[in-house]
C-alpha cells in the first residue's frame, strides 16, 4: 500500500510537470482601424499596408503562433483578410487569405513568404461587384467570388497564441480605397480591439503607421 501511495504521488507530480500551463490556449490580439475627423469609423472598398514580415519571431513549443494581417470587415460576421502567419517549427512565414461568410470561414494558403523584409498586403473589392481579391506585393493571389457585399471597414491586426510568443506588428503606408478607384491614407490611425497583456498598438497618423509592440 505504501508503494501505491508513492506511485500515485510520483505520477501526479509527473503529470503536473509534463502538462503545459497553456493547455487551453488563450487568444491575444491587437487591432487598429481608421476613424474620421467626426469620430466615426472609415468604411471603404479595400485595405492596404506595407507590413514587416518577421524573420525570427519567438514562438513557444509545441504550436506557438504569430499572425499579421489586413482586413475589410462588413458588419461583424463577414469579411476578407490577407496576411502571414508563422507557427513553431515552420521554417518560413506563410501567406494566407480568409473569407468570413455568415460567421463561417474559407481559407486559402498563399505559400511561403520572404522573411526579414516588408510585404504589401492588400484586400479590395472589384469595382462595382461583390468579388474580393487578395494581393501580396502587388501580385494578385486569390479572388473570393460572389461574396455578397461590396464595402466594409478596413482594419489591421497582430495576434499570438501564447504570451510567450512574439506579437510584433509594423504596419506602414496604411491606406483604404474610397469609391471605385482612389486609394487614400487612413484618416486617423486608431487603436481598436486589444486583449493582449504584453503588447499594444502605437498609432502614428502623421506617418500613416501603426506599430504593435511591448507596452
Amino acid at each position: 500500500m505504501r508503494n501505491l501511495y508513492w506511485r500515485i504521488l510520483a505520477l501526479s507530480l509527473l503529470i503536473m510537470i509534463v502538462l503545459p500551463t497553456n493547455a487551453f490556449a488563450l487568444a491575444y490580439g491587437v487591432t487598429g482601424k481608421s476613424t474620421n475627423t467626426g469620430g466615426g469609423n472609415t468604411y471603404g472598398y479595400g485595405c492596404y499596408s506595407y507590413n514587416y514580415v518577421m524573420s525570427n519571431p519567438t514562438l513557444q513549443s509545441p504550436d506557438g503562433e504569430h499572425v499579421n494581417s489586413v482586413y475589410v470587415n462588413y458588419l461583424g460576421n463577414t469579411g476578407v483578410e490577407c496576411g502571414w502567419y508563422r507557427r513553431y517549427g515552420q521554417s518560413n512565414p506563410q501567406g494566407f487569405t480568409v473569407w468570413m461568410n455568415y460567421g463561417a470561414y474559407h481559407e486559402v494558403a498563399l505559400g511561403a513568404m520572404a522573411a526579414g523584409q516588408n510585404a504589401g498586403l492588400k484586400v479590395e473589392s472589384v469595382a462595382g461587384t461583390d468579388e474580393w481579391r487578395a494581393y501580396i506585393n502587388g501580385a494578385f493571389m486569390y479572388e473570393w467570388a460572389n461574396a455578397g457585399w461590396t464595402y466594409g471597414w478596413p482594419r489591421v491586426g497582430s495576434e499570438r497564441k501564447y504570451t510567450g510568443d512574439s506579437n510584433y506588428g509594423d504596419f506602414k503606408e496604411l491606406q483604404f480605397r474610397e469609391g471605385n478607384v482612389t486609394w487614400k491614407y487612413w484618416n486617423n490611425v486608431t487603436a481598436e480591439s486589444d486583449n493582449d497583456p504584453g503588447y499594444r498598438i502605437y498609432p502614428d497618423t502623421a506617418n500613416h503607421k501603426a506599430l504593435v509592440d511591448n507596452g
Binding site: M1, I15, N77, W153, R200
Partner: protein, 210 residues
C-alpha cells in the same frame, strides 16, 4: 505493531488526500493562479497591462479577432432612436422573447438608404438589420458553399440557419462558428448571431420579428 496497523489502515486515505492536493495544485497553476504573467488581479474577462491599462478579453478563446459592433456605426439610446434614423420601417424583435437590448447602433453606409441597425444583447446575441442589401442574398447558392447552413422559413420569408460549432484554420487554429439565422424580406436582410447559442434560442427571436 499498533503503529504499523494504523499506518496500514490509513494508507489509502493518505494516498487519496495527496492525490486531491496535487490535483488542486495542478488546477491552480493551469488556471493562472500561480505563475500568471498578469499584473495584479482583474476580473476573469479582463487583463491588466504593465502600463496600468485594463483590456477586456473577447467572449471566446479563439484567436480570430472579430470586430466589435461599435466599429460599424454610431450608438444611440433606444431602438426607436435608431428606427427614426433609417429609411425603412424594420421588423423588430419582441422584447418578451429577445429581452432588452444592451446596445443599439445606427450602422454607417455609403448611402442613407443603406443605413441599418445593429442590436447587441447582454448574452452576446447580435441582430443586424440591413436595408437595401446589395446584392440581394442568394441563399440557394450560399447553402451550396456553406455545408453547415440549411434553408429555413422565417415568417414565410426564405432564409438560412446554422447551429454554432467550431472550425480549424491553418492560419488561426480552432475558431468558433456562431449560430445564425438570416432571412431576406422586402429588400432588407435580417441576421441574428450567437456565439455558442443554438437555434432553439435564435429561431424564436427570428420568428418574433413579424
Amino acid at each position: 505493531m499498533e503503529r504499523m496497523n494504523l499506518r496500514k489502515r490509513y494508507s489509502p486515505l493518505i494516498a487519496i488526500t495527496s492525490l486531491l492536493a496535487v490535483g488542486m495544485l495542478v488546477f491552480t497553476i493551469q488556471t493562472g493562479g500561480i505563475l500568471s504573467t498578469a499584473v495584479g488581479k482583474s476580473p476573469a474577462n479582463q487583463v491588466q497591462k504593465k502600463n496600468g491599462t485594463v483590456v477586456t478579453k473577447q467572449n471566446n478563446d479563439a484567436k480570430f479577432i472579430k470586430p466589435p459592433m461599435s466599429l460599424f456605426g454610431q450608438q444611440v439610446q433606444t431602438l426607436n432612436d435608431a428606427v427614426s434614423q433609417i429609411s425603412v420601417v424594420p421588423k423588430l424583435p419582441n422584447p418578451a422573447v429577445a429581452g432588452n437590448p444592451k446596445e443599439v447602433y445606427v450602422l454607417d453606409a455609403p448611402t442613407p438608404e443603406q443605413k441599418g441597425i445593429g442590436i447587441l444583447y447582454e448574452n452576446g446575441i447580435q441582430i443586424w438589420i440591413i436595408p437595401n442589401k446589395q446584392p440581394a442574398p442568394n441563399y440557394d447558392a450560399t447553402v451550396r458553399i456553406e455545408p453547415n447552413l440549411r434553408l429555413v422559413d422565417v415568417n414565410d420569408a426564405k432564409g438560412i440557419a446554422r447551429e454554432p460549432g467550431t472550425q480549424t484554420l491553418m492560419s488561426h487554429g480552432e475558431v468558433p462558428i456562431p449560430g445564425v439565422v438570416a432571412w431576406f424580406e422586402n429588400g432588407t436582410e435580417y441576421e441574428i448571431y450567437g456565439d455558442n447559442i443554438g437555434l432553439n434560442v435564435l429561431m424564436p427571436i427570428a420568428r418574433s420579428m413579424h
